[in-house]
Symmetry: C2
Subunit: 329 residues, 2 copies
């Protein structure tokens, strides 16, 4: 590990979380769990209460997953109305303000002069791309994309990306820091809309919508096909590794040979629907039937409870083993 990687991993004692929305609050809980001090910036005066409530709400899950090993440390959290106060002394900055390019550029311009010399800045942006964000900087060398998957304190994935304008070692430093707080990182090596995971989700959902539109199955049944079928395997391994195990000892080469015709037949038949008014109405009616009167809050609690068990089953020990709890030392 290079000096800068070390600096950005175990040595990061103070993190700034810019933006106190849903994503920023979840990041904050995770960073606190891993023993970092966190300074949150948000101009909304209601933020402090919301952040403290979110940390409290997340703590039992973080404890279950082995990510938090102490009671929630209230004193390690400060909330600032000025982003320059939040980044002061921070070695890592996670920016999660709303996805408006002008707003992000303004924020970068405000903090750039006061950042610590070695501070790494990562943006949670999902819709905007790295090259759209970089013009907000005089020197974008310290900035990467660090795109989490919602909610960040529960889903391990972070997609990290730099490009030719990123300083050497900064992508590695960001990955190293994220892994030190229990995340699983991947590197996005070329800029495309949606990075990686959102494109994969979009591909799956497009065909799910097509099957509903064509009357092949109801929303409820398509959803059950995922969560009682391949979705269970995707929690364990990704699609290519799974297919590598799908042709006995022959591995992926045998699988491709055996099933290429089937895949080509299916691929040729996949749909390309759009989210027009009729389709949206059909999906809303379908999901209303599928959820049978249960509200969004109830379903969200149910999702997170089961999701916690799934993450514990798939990532529990590995994540715990890899985490550097600063306060444990």
């Amino acid at each position: 590990m290079s000096t800068s990687e070390a600096a950005a991993a175990g040595e990061v004692a103070r993190v700034a979380a810019l933006g106190g929305g849903l994503i920023g609050r979840s990041w904050t809980a995770l960073f606190l769990a891993a023993g970092r001090s966190v300074a949150v910036y948000d101009p909304d005066p209601a933020t402090e209460t919301r952040v403290r409530e979110a940390v409290e709400a997340a703590w039992p899950v973080l404890t279950t997953l082995g990510l938090a090993t102490t009671p929630a440390p209230e004193g390690e959290l400060v909330v600032c109305a000025d982003p320059r106060d939040a980044v002061e002394g921070a070695q890592f900055v996670q920016e999660s303000v709303p996805e408006r390019v002008g707003l992000k550029h303004e924020l970068y311009a405000a903090i750039e002069p006061v950042l610590a010399p070695d501070a790494v800045v990562a943006s949670s942006a999902s819709g905007l791309t790295l090259s759209e964000l970089q013009p907000g900087w005089r020197d974008p060398g310290r900035m990467v994309l660090g795109h989490p998957f919602n909610p960040p304190h529960l889903i391990p994935l972070v997609e990290v990306m730099g490009n030719h304008r990123t300083d050497p070692g900064v992508v590695a430093a960001a990955r190293s820091f994220y892994e030190s707080v229990g995340k699983v990182t991947i590197e996005v090596r070329r800029e495309v809309p949606g990075h990686v995971a959102n494109r994969l989700q979009a591909a799956l959902w497009r065909e799910a919508i097509h099957l509903v539109n064509q009357g092949v199955a109801t929303v409820e049944d398509v959803d059950a096909a995922v969560s009682s079928g391949p979705g269970l395997r995707w929690a364990v391994m990704g699609p290519t590794t799974l297919f590598h195990l799908g042709a006995d000892d022959g591995g992926l080469a045998a699988f491709c040979q055996r099933y290429a015709d089937s895949f080509h037949r299916w691929w040729d038949d996949l749909g390309t629907p759009h989210l027009d008014q009729a389709t949206t109405a059909r999906l809303v009616a379908g999901v209303t039937a599928a959820t049978a009167g249960r509200g969004v809050d109830e379903l969200t609690s149910e999702r997170d409870a089961v999701l916690t068990s799934v993450v514990a089953a798939t990532h529990g020990s590995a994540r715990t083993a890899g985490i550097a709890h600063v306060r444990d030392r």
Copy 2:
């Protein structure tokens, strides 16, 4: 529940499993676990040994999942070299012989004259469609598609399909039987290549391959993006229900309004690769790097161990609650 549904569910005491391959053996273990007698047909004399070994190997998992509640009942399993012997007295027949239409037609013609009057026959076919299978019957009214997801004793999903030639009540009877042995069923209402789950898998994998082909990410990183990201959520709920929870209280209508532009941007950019030689070679090299010298057997054991925990976390109690163990009564 109608009389015929009742007949096909709790009252099914004897099942015939036609075909003793990987799928047939897994079905056999599941049916035995649920307290049914099983007669397996396979012309290969090695089948009996293989089936008994497979049942023994599956039993600990079936016990963990609450699907098996007794030691494996060796006396409830017979293996027959003549399919007519296997179906004699069976109320439910699961056909899982190799996917060659001529072979399946011959088998149907052999058993049709000796089936019990109310027996329901389901085919595990994944590549062939119901209408391609029906010409094997004088009267296809009792036959449905009953497509499992591999391995059937571990993954709950069964896709059930009838059509205008299927007798009334037969689809419901098949679903009722499957649910009585712990499966989750969906109904495929219109014939399309790949039914439902395989199309969804194909859609996801196509984009995974595209991202590798374009150098956006390695096979290892694309797979990690799934299994440390959306795959974890798909083990809990299907994509449309998950997005229903993705726009605070506004539900799916608000989600579609907020993100339609993003999805359209991503959908327009998704790839349409083919499994040509160069792509297959790239995927094989990628999966070889990702699995770092671990063999197919080792990875399969690892998959099934974690998968068992995931299925227990997501389906454990619900499945156990719904199962009718014949021998428990």
